[in-house]
């Protein structure tokens, strides 16, 4: 998979700079979910190594069709265009794994736009281990279970909607898989996120937004 890294926008509308991913990776999953349940999803990632794994997890989810990936940053151009998109779209699913600064801004813009936020997470990987402070609405609480189930060496969740977890450095694809489903509380029994993933270092913010 190749995701073109480029500064999104430069006068372009946000959607104009989108990079639609190949659907080939989804072929095996198409039988598992009816087409009506598969909705387009916009995926925002920062220019960091984690994004490849996160997106591969999104792709592996049978419910995620028409995955569009954009590179996010906290620069004026991107933030302004994102704000316009939030204000003009309805029913769009936006998930992401971005840097802290971008995450802070994107989530607050979602608030101003009156969007629904189903999930927020802070993720830090350092010295070979990762920590995850995640928060989900009750309707999306199963995302936490799914994430913990697939993330390597992840601690077991003890709460439904607010949780701090620890895991190995291999977690980003599990997060992408967990957040990608249009039906957050649905369990996928036949498919799993890719297991041969890169180790991820750094700190990130994740989210699931519905306009």
């Amino acid at each position: 998979m190749s995701i073109q890294r480029r500064s999104v926008l430069k006068g372009m509308a946000l959607s104009g700079a989108a990079l639609a991913l190949s659907q080939a990776g989804l072929a095996h999953a198409a039988h598992a979910t009816p087409a009506s349940a598969r909705k387009p999803v916009l995926v925002l990632v920062s220019a960091v190594d984690a994004h490849t794994d996160f997106v591969s997890g999104v792709q592996a989810n049978p419910g995620a069709a028409q995955v569009t990936v954009l590179q996010a940053d906290h620069g004026f151009d991107f933030i302004t265009a994102f704000q316009q998109r939030l204000n003009s779209s309805k029913g769009e699913r936006i998930i992401g794994l971005v840097d802290d600064a971008s995450g802070m801004l994107l989530l607050d813009l979602a608030r101003s736009a009156g969007a629904r936020v189903h999930w927020t997470g802070q993720h830090v990987t350092q010295n070979g281990v990762s920590r995850h402070s995640v928060s989900a609405t009750e309707n999306s609480a199963n995302c936490i279970t799914q994430f913990a189930e697939f993330a390597q060496s992840c601690s077991r969740p003890t709460a439904m909607t607010e949780q701090t977890l620890s895991a190995s450095r291999h977690w980003a694809s599990s997060l992408g898989f967990a957040l990608a489903s249009p039906e957050p509380n649905r369990r996928y029994l036949r498919t799993t996120p890719p297991t041969h993933t890169h180790a991820v270092d750094g700190h990130f913010v994740s989210f699931s937004i519905e306009t």
Partner: protein, 523 residues
């Protein structure tokens, strides 16, 4: 009746009462302006403080679009004794963000009251509603070729003048002391009456935005950082855009230079040779806004070593202190003042002058120049990428603009922060005679142990600074009550006497700046 089951209720309110109130809000505001679903409220509940967000969870968020609706909201809140936490744009990052002071308070979000009501290009005045952002105002000035410029805080693009001024925020231009530039407020009081400060109560008057004082007691300041009314309009002054703006930076290599820097800048600032709110920024502040992350240099836990700070300084061509100033005026005026500044620097015998041309568009100079020139940007959010993990609290003590005072504050703050394994990420903003010493206490909220340390660190900062005779001018919602104590019991009793007189049901933002009739006992 609709049942609203967000699982969070205002203190002392039953579900049935809450449901009735929500129905009345829906009738008043329309159902789309009454948010009670968990997913709608979640973004209002994201804080950066060392406590669970649940402690600051709202029970609902409502949006009003007119002053009459705000009056209606106040009436319903009084009827059911529901406390309401008002936000304008809600971008109070590091001070509590958009979340209410106490769990269960409803949020009155005034983002939809976003009209620029009036700009007078000749007088340089503006009158705006709470939801107007600096970017909106900037675009309006640009699109209409109005030769005025803005002063704003660093989250400029998305923040707004009314909220920032009500919280007594500062900017970086000659108009950087924002409350000083405020002129005329409209407020909805807890009894539903609409009060206008200054000349605003005079029928047919046109001087509301030009003469602050009106007649008799002048009450504007009483409503800032307070909970005595809901501000629905604010007037303020805008600076005429000068023909020349010359931003520049002076870098100093040693941390111990702070004393000399302040004593060098003060006379230039007081005499208005350098007219803007000068910034003296530490190396980590500048490094993180230039895109440096702590993990680029170390993954060791604890405070970043001085050796690493020096390395960053060297790698990124930064000073231990980076002083940002600008000159404004005609070419001739700027030239005269430039000669005075460069002459004074020569006399000081240290410091490296960097002009805009020499900086060549590099960061952080570029965003600093924009802030001093009234051009909105978001660059300073890079601070949150320094350590990561989503924790941030502003510790903002004030001091005299004297070198020894600033040196003392910096050393005290750094010692306490480092003791708790955190970094000194700070800057001084030079008022005329005061310094806002602004420190971002950054920490990792995914690490429960670090969260505890950050909390203990902040408490110690407040305690130790108070012992040394300093207090902060603004603080996040977790520490408001504690900081109110620093200012003494007489002030607290007076503030609560006013609260009891103006808002006996304690419905307006209880807890703001420590003012809360339910918890205050020290009558």
């Amino acid at each position: 009746m609709t049942k609203d089951n967000n699982k969070v209720l205002p203190k002392g309110i039953t579900q049935a009462e809450f449901d009735k109130a929500m129905d009345e809000f829906r009738t008043l505001l329309g159902k789309e302006n009454v948010l009670v679903e968990e997913a709608q409220l979640k973004p209002y509940n994201k804080t950066m403080m060392p406590v669970d967000d649940a402690e600051h969870a709202p029970s609902a968020a409502i949006t009003a679009t007119t002053v009459e609706q705000v009056q209606g909201v106040v009436a319903i809140c009084n009827k059911y004794k529901i406390p309401v936490w008002t936000i304008s744009t809600g971008r109070n990052f590091g001070y509590g963000s958009a979340a209410p002071h106490q769990r269960g308070q409803i949020i009155l979000d005034l983002k939809k009251m976003n009209k620029i009501l009036h700009i007078d290009a000749d007088l340089g005045t503006a009158l705006v509603e709470p939801g107007v952002t600096y970017q909106q105002l900037y675009d309006h000035l640009e699109e209409n070729n109005i030769p005025l410029m803005l002063s704003f805080s660093a989250p400029s693009t998305i923040a707004g003048p009314l909220g920032n001024t009500m919280d007594r925020g500062v900017g970086y231009t000659p108009y950087g002391e924002h409350f000083l530039m405020q002129c005329g407020m409209e407020l909805v009081l807890a009894n539903g009456e609409v009060y206008r400060t200054g000349m605003g109560g005079v029928k047919g008057d046109k001087a509301w935005q030009v003469f602050k004082w009106g007649y008799g007691p002048t009450l504007d300041g009483m409503f800032t950082q307070a909970n005595y009314g809901i501000c629905t309009k604010m007037g303020f002054w805008l600076m005429p855009k000068p023909p020349v703006i010359k931003p520049f930076e002076i870098q100093f290599d040693e941390e111990s230079d702070i004393s000399d820097i302040v004593d060098f800048i003060r006379p230039l600032r007081i005499s208005q040779v350098i007219p803007n709110s000068v910034v003296i920024a530490g190396v980590l502040w500048e490094a993180s806004t230039a895109g440096v992350r702590r993990s680029d240099y170390t993954t060791e836990p604890g405070a970043t070593s001085d050796a690493i700070l020096k390395q960053i300084q060297k790698d990124k061509k930064l000073g231990a202190w980076n002083v940002y100033c600008a000159l404004y005026g005609t070419k001739e005026q700027v030239e005269v003042n430039w000669n005075i500044v460069t002459g004074a620097l020569k006399q000081l015998g240290k410091g490296r002058m960097i002009t805009e041309e020499e900086a060549g568009g590099t960061e952080p100079f570029a965003y600093r120049a924009k802030l001093m020139s009234g051009i909105p940007n978001l660059r300073e959010f890079g601070l949150y990428n320094w350590r990561g993990g989503g924790g941030s609290m502003w510790f903002a003590p004030v001091s005299q603009a004297k070198g020894n005072e600033c040196d003392k504050q910096k050393s005290l703050a750094k010692t306490i922060l480092n003791k708790h394994g955190l970094d000194y990420v700070g800057e001084f903003i030079v008022g005329w005679r005061d310094m806002h010493h602004v420190i971002d206490v950054l920490y990792d909220r995914t690490d429960p142990e670090e969260v505890k340390r950050a909390d203990a660190c902040f408490a110690e900062l407040l305690d130790e600074f108070e012992k040394a005779g300093y207090a902060v001018y603004r603080v996040n919602t977790r520490y408001m009550d504690r900081v109110a104590d620093s200012y003494g019991p007489v002030k607290r009793r007076l503030e609560h006497t006013l609260k009891r007189a103006l808002d006996p049901n304690n419905i307006l933002a209880p807890g703001k700046s420590g003012i809360d009739l339910d918890t205050f006992k020290d009558w």
